[in-house]
């Protein structure tokens, strides 16, 4: 074995034996460092006879490359080993629970209002508002409910203490006064909805002293009862996400509409459960009618020129039916368990293009 071969096998053995980067560096210095053995031999090439110099130079350069390569390969292996060792040491108990992230929920009532708004917005309605504390005039008289009319007694009105003039403000018993307030301010055409708080002096399993209604009003020149029917059927079907939902209109009475209609939707009941859709039963869902000419007159409109329809729906009732919430009273209790269960996270926005949840 020539010297070079011996050298090579020595270095290769040393490289393989290097257990870490330091040891490997020592081998490299020993071989290829300035004073390394291969470097030394390269320096001595000049002393060789010219005819031998070329061959010896080639052989040494090959050896140098081979050793450098072997060192690089070893370094890579050592690196990989070190990484694996480190990774093994870094292992954690990945089954540990995550930190609890506080999550807030929107109330099902506001979600329902958002859904109602999304649907009516698509039909060109805007939102109108009015005060919760109303005058007797706006809550009743302007809506064609004169004092002592039996319809007033059905309202179970809350009154505030009389003012200096002896007038008792009322907590609005419905969102209908906003119809009058808006018509007095605006000229037709009008399309508006009024979601808001309403109050009646009644408290039991199915009544709350405060609840929510959404009023609707459409006024124009040629708005007739067919539009009322179309608009409300479209709404009911979109809200419940049932395309073929049967919707029935029944004659009824509201002092501020004439003709008046109650609206029922189809449902079926089995095993105590309720399903919205074609079935053998009906559920009353909202009240509606053509705006009474007396109301139009009270708003300064000429009933010969403009007409339209109005409707009102109970928002709690809609939420209960759509989301299967069994008890009205729970809406106002702020029980965190209830709010987490029936509430909505902020990422879940009510919008027509992403759907309203009934589809």
């Amino acid at each position: 074995m020539s010297d070079l071969e011996t050298l090579k096998s020595d270095f290769e053995a040393a490289i393989q034996a290097a257990a870490d980067n330091e040891a490997l560096e020592a081998v490299r210095l020993d071989a290829l460092g300035k004073k390394g053995r291969i470097s030394e031999q390269l320096k001595q090439l000049g002393q060789l006879p010219p005819e031998d110099r070329k061959q010896a130079g080639q052989a040494l350069n090959i050896l140098k490359d081979q050793i450098a390569e072997a060192i690089a390969a070893r370094a890579k292996t050592l690196g990989a080993e070190a990484m694996n060792k480190k990774l093994a040491e870094e292992q954690i108990d990945i089954s540990l629970p995550i930190a609890q992230q506080a999550q807030g929920f929107a109330h099902p009532l506001s979600r329902t209002i958002e859904e109602i708004t999304a649907i009516f917005s698509d039909m060109g309605f805007v939102i109108a508002e009015g005060p919760d504390i109303e005058t007797d005039y706006y809550n009743f008289t302007a809506l064609n409910i004169p004092p002592e009319h039996p319809a007033r007694q059905e309202h179970d009105t809350f009154y505030l203490m009389p003012d200096e003039a002896g007038q008792r403000p009322v907590l609005r018993t419905h969102t209908s006064p906003v119809q009058v307030r808006t018509m007095q301010k605006m000229k037709p055409p009008i399309r508006l909805i009024v979601p808001g708080r309403t109050y009646r002096s009644d408290h039991d399993a199915t009544h709350s002293p405060m609840f929510h209604q959404c009023e609707g009003l459409v006024i124009g020149e040629n708005i007739h009862m067919g539009h009322l029917k179309g608009c409300l059927i479209d709404f009911c079907r979109a809200f419940f996400g049932v395309d073929d939902l049967p919707v029935r209109f029944r004659p009824s009475f509201f002092p501020f509409t004439e003709p008046s209609a109650e609206v029922d939707i189809g449902c079926s009941r089995s095993d105590g459960g309720l399903k919205i859709g074609a079935g053998d039963d009906w559920l009353e869902i909202l009240g509606s009618g053509m705006v009474n000419p007396r109301v139009l007159e009270n708003c300064g409109y000429d009933p010969e020129q403009v007409q339209g329809f109005a409707f009102g729906m109970g928002i709690e009732r809609l939420a209960m039916l759509k989301y299967g919430i069994p008890d009205l009273r729970t809406f106002y209790d702020s029980d965190m368990r209830w709010l987490r269960h029936y509430g909505f996270v902020s990422a879940d926005m009510a919008a027509l293009h992403t759907g309203l949840g009934g589809e």
């Binding site: 039996p150 459409v218 902020s346």
Partner: protein
């Protein structure tokens, strides 16, 4: 309003079935609230004959009967004393449900003897309260027949289905069975049977007459009276008593029952006086003076207020007109002479009196909804004959009084109105027919316009829209054409205004911050209102549902605190709640605000395996309110915090935010005294602001300002200042910003230190200022100049010394 099917058929000639009628009622506006059809429960029973009845071997009171149930012979143990051979009775076979006993019959042995069914009493069938012995049917009853069929065959009154309908306030005319029949007839369910409303010729003048005092004249359009002499006021005939029983009225005596019956039959309240108890020969209707006592028929004493209509004789008032008669002059079992009142009183007067006295009656209910204006005269003959038929005796001539102010109302009805309002072409003939069956008089001489006269019982009809309603409700709402609203823009525009939109945006922000939305009542306990600043006494409810809810709320925080308390009591802690809703400063229109209120209790972060629990601090509510204000366009960098939060907040740990002079809300820890009041444990922090007072962000359109990205890296410099401990961090930050306004882009406080090396009464505040070069990277000299300016400004404004400087 309840009635039975056969009662309806007294007025309606029809082939329609019960089912058809019940389906039609809601479609004409008479909502069916309940239907009880005994046929369904009766169908389980059979007519059976007892063949033999032997003494039970093991029980003295029982018999073992062999019963022929038609086609089969059963053995039945029966305890009824009247169980005897040859008796036709009612059998509940095995499997039948017996409503009166609430059991389902099973085959079994009773004291060792086989029993294959049950023989029933009237009470067990739910027919009457008769429980002594089993039913005894006529001998010709067909053995084995279905009992429902048999009951129908013999016209057993208890098989009559009972229908209950809801009557809307406008339909006083349907508070009598005849009115309901008229609507059904108009809807094509047969025809209204004629009733003999011809006058009845009486014998001699009535010994009692009416007098209407001037004070009452305007409120009594019409009243009639008539004396019935020699009547016998025994029990009512069975058919009448049964009908009243079926609709939940207790039969009392013939005269009382007849007045009740006519009220439910024709919607016409009557009042029967005992003719012998009327002092003098005149009944006077007058507006009462205050403080008169009347012992009413319900055995309660009512005290009149000035102006209430009362009726009395020489001994004073004894009847609250239209509401309830008096005990003194009322009929009793021994009455032989009866004076009958048929009246129309002003509906508002009756309603006001009834409401003030808190006295409800079936009569008041009808009077205040409006009665047939012509009734006192026109119905008198029919009623007189009806009474005579049942109670015998004779009656006098009619005596009448009243303003007689009734003039039939005629409406000029433009035929195009129906199409205009409903969008439906109802044929001319149909329109006319509907109106006429409903009792309207139609003068159709005009091509385009008719004169339509309203029947006297339809006080609700006001104008042509009401006539359209009559036509379309009978023609059928199902014939309305579903028409889509024309789109007013191809792409829908937003429903929310810029102001309104802030509410859903805030809701999303706050929920995304881990706060859950509550909806609480707009009213609260007045004591709680007082704790939160108090409110105008005008915001007190005159008729609260409870004393806990007697004041409109000035703040939402008290409601949220109570919500936390309720949750804590259920073992739920670490609650974050918010509400966006109204608060009230005064009862007038300007006094309402939209309030945004949030509250956090317990830990902002709960303990886990990495870190300890972190309790909420004032800074968590500060973060909430700042995020909320920033979202709706408030430039929060310009907000100044002051220490004048309301006094329900912790005085040292709360702040108010101001933008210039504008109040932008407050935040911080709730006052410990408040927490004690609600029995809550600290820490609880919260914030509240009124959306109305936050100026709307200027609408700059969708275009965002051009983004200028600096090519030069920002530099940060740290400063630690020693200042008096009273100096607020906010002031230091402002000074640093002001010192080099054009280069300082951000200032953060990263350390506050008091302790060794720092003089007592002083503190060290460490800040990082981010400096952004504009045109070239800062040189060391420039940086030094900026630092020096910052240091000198803080020294000048805040008395701050650079630490170690």
């Amino acid at each position: 309003m309840k009635f039975t099917l056969s009662w309806l058929f007294d007025h309606l000639e029809t082939d329609a079935s019960l089912e058809q009628i019940v389906d039609m009622l809601p479609m004409v506006g008479l909502e069916v609230e309940s239907l009880v059809n005994p046929r369904e429960s009766f169908a389980a029973f059979r007519v059976a004959e007892i063949v033999t009845a032997e003494q039970h071997p093991n029980a003295d009171r029982l018999r073992v009967c062999t019963v022929n149930a038609g086609g089969e012979t059963l053995s039945i143990v029966c305890g009824a004393p009247n169980a005897r051979s040859g008796l036709k009775t009612v059998l509940a076979p095995v499997g039948a449900y017996v409503p009166g006993a609430d059991i389902t019959i099973k085959a079994g042995k009773i004291r060792g003897e086989t029993s294959q069914g049950m023989l029933c009493s009237s009470a067990e069938l739910g027919i009457s309260e008769e429980a002594d012995g089993i039913i005894e049917l006529a001998a010709d009853a067909q053995t084995g027949a279905n009992f429902a069929d048999y009951a129908e065959q013999i016209r057993l009154s208890q098989i009559d289905p009972v229908i209950e309908i809801a009557i809307t306030p406008n339909r006083g005319d349907c508070l009598g069975v005849r009115g309901v029949a008229r609507d059904l007839a108009a809807a094509g369910m047969g025809s209204l049977k004629p009733l003999d409303f011809s006058p009845a010729v009486g014998e001699g003048a009535s010994p009692v007459t009416w007098h209407i005092d001037d004070s009452a004249l305007a409120l009594v359009p019409a009243v009639s009276g008539r004396m019935f002499s020699g009547v016998s006021n025994g029990a009512s005939p069975a058919w009448l008593a049964d009908r009243l029983t079926a609709i939940g009225q207790r039969p009392i005596s013939a005269l009382v029952d007849i007045t009740n019956y006519i009220m439910f039959d024709l919607g016409r309240p009557l009042h029967a006086y005992d003719g012998d108890k009327i002092a003098g020969n005149q009944l006077t209707i007058t507006a009462a003076s205050s403080g008169q006592e009347i012992l009413a028929l319900n055995e309660k004493t009512y005290i009149t207020e000035t102006g209430m209509l009362v009726i009395g004789d020489e001994d004073g008032p004894d009847d609250i007109a239209g509401v309830m008669g008096g005990e003194r002059t009322g009929v009793s079992d021994s009455t032989t002479n009866m004076f009958l009142e048929i009246a129309v009183f002003d509906p508002v007067s009756v309603a006001t009196t009834g409401r003030k006295l808190n006295l409800h009656s079936d009569a008041r209910y009808r009077f205040e909804r409006g009665l047939d204006q012509c009734g006192p005269e026109q119905m008198a003959g029919y009623i007189a004959r009806f009474i005579q038929q049942i109670c015998g005796g004779s009656f006098s001539e009619l005596t009448l009084a009243g303003a007689n102010s009734y003039i039939p109302k005629t409406i000029a009805f433009s035929l195009s109105r129906t199409r205009q309002l409903t969008g439906v072409d109802v044929p001319r003939a149909d329109q006319k027919q509907i109106l006429e069956i409903l009792g309207f008089d139609v003068d159709d001489r005009g091509e385009e316009s008719w004169d339509v006269t309203v029947p006297p019982w339809r006080n609700d009809i006001d104008g042509s829209a009401d006539l359209v309603e009559e036509i379309i409700r009978i023609f059928g709402f199902d014939k309305l054409n579903m028409t889509a609203l024309p789109r007013n823009s191809v792409i829908a525009r937003p429903a929310y205004s810029a102001e309104q939109k802030r509410v859903p945006l805030l809701r999303r922000l706050l929920t995304s911050r881990g706060i859950t939305e509550a909806v609480t009542f707009s009213f609260l306990k007045s004591d709680d209102a007082r704790l939160f600043g108090g409110v105008d006494e005008g915001l007190r409810l005159a008729n609260p549902i409870s004393t806990d809810l007697d004041m409109m709320r000035p703040s939402i925080l008290p409601n949220l605190l109570q919500a936390i308390s309720r949750n804590n009591n259920r073992g739920i802690d670490n609650i974050s709640l918010f509400e966006i809703g109204p608060v009230f400063l005064s009862p007038d229109e300007t006094g309402q605000r939209i309030c945004v209120s949030g509250i956090r209790q317990g830990n902002i972060r709960s303990a886990d395996w990495r870190q300890k629990a972190e309790p909420v601090t004032a800074f968590d509510s500060k973060a909430d309110i700042l995020a909320a204000l920033a979202l709706i366009g408030v430039s929060v960098d310009n907000l100044v915090v002051s220490r004048d939060a309301p006094d329900w907040m912790h005085p040292g740990r709360s702040g108010r935010l101001k933008l210039g002079k504008m109040d932008m809300g407050y935040f911080g820890e709730l006052h410990p005294a408040i927490l004690m009041h609600y029995d809550l444990k600290s820490p609880i922090v919260g914030f509240e602001f009124w959306l109305d007072t936050i100026p709307l962000a200027r609408n700059k359109g969708p275009m965002k300002p051009l983004l200028n990205l600096s090519a030069f890296q920002p530099v940060s410099r740290d400063f630690a200042f020693i200042v008096d401990e009273q100096v607020e961090a906010q002031a230091l930050v402002q000074s640093v910003r002001k010192a080099a306004r054009d280069v300082v882009t951000d200032v953060q406080v990263f350390d506050i230190y008091q302790g060794s090396n720092i003089e007592a009464g002083k503190k060290s505040v460490a800040l990082t200022a981010t400096l952004q070069p504009k045109s070239a990277t800062f040189t060391e000299d420039e940086l030094k100049a900026i630092s020096d300016t910052i240091i000198s400004t803080v020294a000048k404004n805040n008395g701050g010394e650079i630490r170690g400087g």
